[in-house]
Structure formats: C-alpha cells, structure tokens
C-alpha cells in the first residue's frame, strides 16, 4: 500500500517536473544552450501565481492563462536581448550568461519580495481524494498533473502539426540545414526560449499551491530539470517527459524508503549513474561522447 501510494504521488509530482524538463530540453535542442536560469524562471512562475491569487483573486490554475503568454513574451525578449548574442560562443560563456541572468532574477526577487517564504493557500490546497483501499490523492497535485498532460499534448500537436512547430524541430535537428531551407533560425531560437520560459513558469505556478514560495526556490529545481534532460537525452522532448516522471517516482520512493533528507542526493546519484552508463540518455541520439 505504501509502495502504491508513493508510486502514485511520485508520478503526479513527476508530471510537473516533466513540464520543467520539457521546457529545458526544447531550449537545449533548438539552441544548444544549457539554460541555468531555468529554475529562476520557475520561481518567477511561482510568484506570478501567488500575486495573481492574492492581489487579483484569480485561482492559480486559471491564472495560467495569463502567466503563460506573459512569460512567453518575457522569454522571447530575454532571448532577443541577451541569449542570442552568445549563441555562437563557447558553451561555458552561455552557461555563465544564464547563471548571471538567474542571479539577477533571484536576487531582484529577494530584494522585492524579501526572503520570507510565502504560502499560497487555496480552498482545496490540503484536500484529497481518499479511496477505500487507503490511497489518497492530493487534489492540487492531481489537477497539476492533468493540466501538465493537457499542455504536453498541445505542445506535441504544435510541434508535429504546425509549420512553426516543424520549423522548430528542423532547427533542432540541424541548424545550418534548416537555415539553408529558408527557416528563420534566429526567430525559432526566440520562440523556443519563449516556450521554454513559459513551460518553466507554468511548472512553477503548478507547484505553487503545494510548495513554499521563495526567491531561491528555483535552485533545487534547476538541477532536477537537468537530471530529467540528461536522463531523457539532451534535446529530446519525449525523453524529458518520461524522465520527469521517472525522477518524480525515484524521489518519492527515496523519501518513503530512505528519508526525505536524502531524496535529492539519490536523484543526483542517478544523474551521475546515467552519465556513467548511458550518457546519451534513454531517448537521446548518440553524440554525448
């Protein structure tokens, strides 16, 4: 019973992780950039959901309809102003630039919102479905998971059916060839970064009702998002989805059977193990070596 319970809550949490992982993987695939500001973009989503709820009295899940376009534009602008200038630089410069942007975001949040953690309490924050067999499912986690599934499905359709989506995938497969085919790769990069930002912020908003909202909250999610991407294969969107669920389950199992203090250590160990035994990830193309 304990096993089923932690499996279930692991899958539900993992779904939200998957969303953050997919955003990062998309950016990596299209732009070949490791985005170290991803966690801080999640933090941004958490605060947006919090202020939408406290100031505008909008339900955090409905607020996504506002948060997604706003953060898409924000990411689009970030790419246009900063990221595209380093797109041909050595990758360590790209990492440092995104670290710098992340530091600016988290510390501006620290100045503006102070370091007191905020809690977003909705009427259903602590409610849960209880089955007769004793398994309980938290309502906000279940809602988040369903929303994640819907967003992932829409993203999948967008990437596979629309012209922009196909152009994005073409850029991801081969940037030069895509450019030769007349695809505006600079625009694709900005769109990819915008979508990545929106997905990170959405993941942040989705976990806001169940986590402490804090300016530095993004840091622990940053490494998780990387682990998900590497596990799924850097640049693979499907892999990131599966990787997210795996990480969620591993984390949940680790806190049930070892201790919640050690769950992050277990996740990072898994990260190193993947690098050691399968560096191309579960779904990645070879080329990590």
């Amino acid at each position: 019973m304990l096993f089923l319970q932690s499996l279930l809550s692991g899958i539900l949490t993992g779904g939200v992780y998957a969303l953050a992982g997919i955003g990062m993987s998309l950016v990596f695939g299209v732009m070949n950039i490791s985005n170290f500001a991803h966690g801080d973009l999640m933090m941004l989503g958490m605060y947006l959901a919090y202020f939408a709820f406290t100031l505008l009295k909008i339900d955090p899940y409905l607020a996504l309809l506002l948060i997604m376009p706003i953060t898409f534009l924000f990411g689009f602008m970030l790419e246009k102003v900063f990221i595209n200038r380093v797109i041909n630089h050595p990758h360590q410069n790209q990492i440092l630039l995104t670290i710098g942007l992340g530091l600016i975001m988290s510390n501006t949040a620290l100045l503006a919102f102070t370091s007191d953690p905020k809690i977003l309490t909705t009427t259903y924050s602590s409610s849960a479905f209880n089955s007769a067999s004793g398994i309980s499912v938290s309502v906000p986690l279940l809602l988040s998971f369903l929303i994640t599934c819907a967003i992932t499905a829409i993203l999948y359709l967008f990437l596979s059916r629309t012209r922009t989506g196909m152009a994005l995938r073409a850029t991801s497969q081969n940037r030069e060839a895509a450019q030769l085919m007349g695809i505006n790769v600079a625009k694709m990069s900005a769109i990819a970064f915008g979508i990545g930002t929106a997905l990170a912020a959405t993941a942040g908003a989705l976990i806001a009702p169940t986590y402490y909202i804090h300016p530095l909250a993004g840091h622990s999610f940053l490494l998780k998002a990387f682990t998900i991407c590497v596990l799924g294969g850097l640049g693979s969107v499907v892999g990131a989805g599966v990787g997210g669920v795996i990480i969620g389950v591993v984390e949940s199992m680790a806190s049930t059977y070892i201790s919640s203090d050690w769950k992050d250590v277990v996740v990072f160990m898994l990260f190193l193990a993947v690098l050691l035994f399968r560096p191309q990830g579960l779904f990645g193309k070879k080329g990590g070596q």
Partner: protein
C-alpha cells in the same frame, strides 16, 4: 619562465611587506586575506578551466572538503592544523578522482553539469550526516601551531599569500611543461589532441587533481582562520560561481587574470556588504536616512552584492568575454 617567476617573487615580497606598513588593522587585514584567498581559489580553478578548458561549476566541493576535513581532524583527532590540511587534500583528491573518472570521458555540457551534481551531493551529504555537524556546522574553540598566535590575522595573511605564490608558480611551471602543452592542446581541439596520442582523460584528471588539492588548502586555511564553518559558507554553489566569475573578469587562461579579478571583486563585495554605498548616499544628502528609500537601502543593499555579481557576470560575458587582461591584449 624565469621572468614570470621573478615577477611573482617581487609581487609576493611587496605583498609580504603590506601588513607591516599598514600596521595592526584587523578590518583591512581581513579584506586582504579575502582577496588573497579569492585570488588563490580563482588561480587554482584556472589551472583546470584556463589550461584544459574544462569549466568546473562545483569547486566549492573541494573548498568545503578541505574546510570540513580540517575542522573534523582538529576537533576529534589531532590538534595540529598541518594534519588537517593534509587530510583535507586527500579527501578533496578522492572526490576529484571520482568526479574525473565519471565525467572526463564525456564532452561539452556534461562536465559542467556533473561538477555541479557532485558538489550538490557533497553539500547535501554534509548537511545530512551527523559527524559533519549537520545544519549547525562546526565550531572550533582553540587552535595552535608551533606557538604562533593564531588569534591574530597576520599568520593567515601569510598563509594565503604562500598558497597564492605556490599556485601561481605551479601555473607558470605547467605553462612550460609537457603536461601544460597537452592540456592546451586538449582545450583547443580534443580530437586533434587525441589523434596525437594524448590521453585526454588522464591529463584532464591530472589538472583537476592539482586544482582540487590547492582549492582544499584554501578551504583548510579558511576554516582555521574563521573557526566556524557550515555548508552555506563553504559548500554553496554561490562560492563556485564567485570563483569562476573572479577568473573570468580578470581573464581565463592568463597568469595574472584571476589575481586581478580578486583585487576588483572582493573590495566591491565588501563595499556593498558593509553598506558603504548606502551611507555615502546619505552623507552626500542625496537620500534622507529616515525616508522610505533610505531605510530600504539600509536594510537591503547589504544583500545586493549577489545581484551585483549577476549584473557583472552578464556584462562581462557580453562585452568582455576575455576578461580585463584580454582587453589589454586586444589593444596591443
């Protein structure tokens, strides 16, 4: 090589005279110790990042390994700080060997990511284990070595200076040695280097070991100097980033770049941290101390130095990717 070593010796001799000129001023000496420590850390990082082009984003792990091992040895096993330093080097090298074995077979983004993962594993384990003091950290009440007064700051000034001189000398020696040439070949083109028969993983590991050992000595000195450590002080990701930033601002891959970076960044952080800027604005009459802005500055500017680091990083990467020394080279 001789010329560079002579310059190092002259600069070191000048630096050694500074405390005598300044006299007994714990505040200034403290800042100078921080500068020397940051210069040594960035120079040690530069051995791996500058020569081999392998950017470690987790050097706090080696600093923390030195600091924690020293504190544990001093408080439980042997009161001689030298034992602590040696033990720290051993632990740091073990961590470096494990990290190197896992990630140096891989390229590109992987080393950076894995170095963070290792550093986070070390940090979280230290936080969760009991023998490391957990979240409370470790406090050391008394320490002595050969009757030297370790309550004064001067011994640590000279300790850090010696470490910096050793690190710079190793950098010079590496630059002229076979290992150094191999590492530079690896940095420029891994495939070409491998095709010439250079054992990539071996030389990268060698550079990482040297870098990690030097970093851990800085951690040991810091621990004995401050006598209190916890994970947020010595194992945080923020420290790793400060080290890289210091090297980048001065100029990665140059001998003096990391030193120049430390001479600039440490005083800047100190100015922001001690709120000199806020006080200055008040004194100049630009901001009233009791007004909303004045109170906001007083309460918050001290936290703003990390924000300043973020802004400097972004500006530096966009406009000065080769650092300050790179700027001069362009002028020539």
């Amino acid at each position: 090589m001789k010329k560079q070593l002579t310059i190092i010796a002259i600069v070191a001799a000048a630096a050694a005279l500074l405390p005598i000129i300044i006299g007994e001023n714990p505040y200034i000496t403290g800042i100078m110790i921080s500068m020397l420590m940051m210069a040594a850390l960035a120079s040690a990082w530069n051995i791996l990042g500058g020569f081999a082009g392998q950017y470690s984003f987790g050097h706090a792990a080696y600093f923390g390994a030195g600091a924690y091992t020293t504190m544990i040895v001093l408080s439980r096993l042997n009161p001689n700080p030298l034992f602590g330093i040696v033990a720290g080097i051993i632990v740091a090298c073990i961590i470096a060997l494990v990290t190197g074995s896992i990630v140096f077979r891989l390229r590109g983004h992987y080393f950076g990511l894995a170095s963070i993962a290792v550093a986070e594993i070390v940090r979280l384990s230290t936080l969760n284990f009991e023998f490391t003091g957990g979240a409370q950290g470790i406090l050391l009440s008394d320490v002595s070595l050969w009757g030297i007064d370790l309550n004064s700051k001067n011994p640590f000034y000279y300790g850090m200076l010696l470490l910096l001189v050793v690190t710079l000398s190793i950098t010079v020696w590496l630059g002229k040695s076979k290992t150094g040439y191999y590492l530079q070949a690896i940095r420029e083109d891994q495939d070409a280097a491998a095709s010439l028969g250079i054992n990539l993983a071996f030389y990268k590991k060698k550079a990482l070991l040297i870098s990690a050992a030097l970093t851990s000595v800085a951690g040991s000195l810091y621990a004995v100097y401050i006598r209190f450590i916890d994970t947020s002080a010595v194992l945080d990701l923020r420290l790793s980033i400060e080290i890289i930033l210091t090297a980048i601002i001065g100029g990665v891959g140059t001998l003096w770049g990391p030193v120049i970076g430390a001479l600039l960044l440490v005083p800047l952080a100190e100015v922001l941290r001690s709120n000199v800027l806020g006080d200055l604005l008040v004194k100049l009459g630009l901001v009233s101390e009791t007004s909303g802005i004045g109170i906001f500055l007083k309460e918050n500017l001290a936290h703003a130095h990390v924000l300043a680091y973020g802004i400097i990083t972004v500006l530096c990467i966009l406009y000065l990717p080769k650092g300050i020394l790179g700027l001069f080279r362009r002028v020539k």
